[in-house]
Amino acid sequence: MTATDNHRAAPATPAAGATPAAGATLPRDPVIRLEALFDTGSLELIAPDTGTGAIAAAGLIDGTGAVAFASDPRVQGGASGEAGCAAIVAAYEEAVRRGVPIIGLWHSGGARLAEGVASLHAVGTIFAAMTRASGLVPQISVVLGPAAGGAAYGPALTDIVILSGLGRIFVTGPDVVRSVTGEDVDMARLGGHEPHSRRSGVASIVTDTDTEAIAQARRLAALLGDHGKVADDPRGADFSGLLPASPRRAYDMHPVIDRVLDAPGVELFPKWAPNVVTTLGRLGGGTVGVVANNPLRLGGCLDATSAEKAARFVRMCDAFGIPLVVLVDTPGYLPGVGQEWDGVVRRGAKLLHAFAECVVPRVTLVTRKAYGGAYIAMNSRSLGATRVLAWPGAEVAVMGAVAAIRILHRRTLAATEPEKLHDTETALAAEHERTVGGLQRALDLGVIDEIIDPAQTRQAIAHAIAAAPQARGAHRNIPL
């Protein structure tokens, strides 16, 4: 073909070991890819395909309107020039005009070399269109092949990024990396599943196959595009036996989340900062976002990365008017030199800001404990929670009673004979609970509204959401 073929970011063959099962990869024809995304027979091209390298279409997903575009990897490796970028910008304008989700299917080497600075300018107009649409309509990116340079930052500006088996995202490919830094790395290790699902936080979801990637995009478009309404009185669910007998024992929060929702939802970033779980699903038929500590990971501590992950999710839900369910079991913010130097103060502040500005109905449930700064950050009353619920036996405090009295009564304890130390600590802790801690104090202060029977969890949360005024945050969703 032409010299620009050299610009292809990637050969069609994946690295060894990364090959998905036969038949799992969609054909390279963008119209076939778009047809797989929309309900059968509903696709309508927004403009005729003139070989611009990108195709845009409108259609239905699960009966709800949506707009989508796909880069055409058959033309110059999907690289974007002026015409292709204009088609994508037009798709964005159409999505905003209709008020429907927009889905991008990416497989592109970035800006077209042959068009020089004109293609750079054109790619920049896509970024501007994405930012104008941010917070107005849900934006989902599905990366089916290599997405390099401008094609990497396109998805990164959207709300949700799904990375399929052969999808690769990087600013510069292995050849450039090798020549500049001397690092020898293949495309999968540089910008495939492992780095983007566990390390970088670039990919919200990874899938082995294109079919699964498209299926997840459809589920998310339906959840974000058609919220429905949270019914006041959903069916109940059995939460017994989910908490371990020992209050010190860690447990997995996922089964609790699954029971709060009507059916298991779509978890975003399951392997990145897993000490916080962010899941979209339905409660009583209406779309909700769940933010939960997971005691199984880092004991449920918040840290810099998980606070940032949660903050972005909260702001996304707020921008689209999706109510939040916040499940709390956290011993605090993670201490350590690494955390402080990593900016746990700056990045943790994002979560405080996100909840404090949030106007959607947001209900907190403390399952077991909420200590310290993390108590405040997890949608406390002080930050404006719609309603704060607690299961019986939950604790809300600056820290655990024993840890607190070891600081408050340091001198007394230092003077205590070792054999009496345990008894003294126990007595002081009980006294501390009576005077400053305990659930009753939290109820008296109004920072917890109600202690609920776990069997009534779904009803109590749904009722609080249904009774609250429906609102929607007036802000964009910057990729925090």
Binding site: L296, C301, P331, G332, G336, G400, A403
Partner: protein, 63 residues
């Protein structure tokens, strides 16, 4: 995050299912079970009760 090995639950040579507990760590006043990610035989345990482990340390090998 630093943790103490509070209790060793599984023994070398033991057949394990995915989700079985290998050891229980203690950190941040919490007991945190370390679970087998897939089924297999526990071929080697690299820690004993009372050891201090860091993120990234090898705890056990499943064969």
């Amino acid at each position: 995050m630093v943790a103490n090995v509070w209790k060793v639950v599984a023994a070398e040579g033991q057949q394990l299912e995915a989700g079985d507990t290998l050891v229980i760590l203690e950190s941040m006043k919490m007991e945190i079970p370390v679970l087998a990610e897939e089924a297999g035989t526990l071929s080697k345990l690299h820690v004993a009760e009372g050891d201090v482990v860091q993120e990234g340390d090898l705890i056990a090998v499943l064969g």
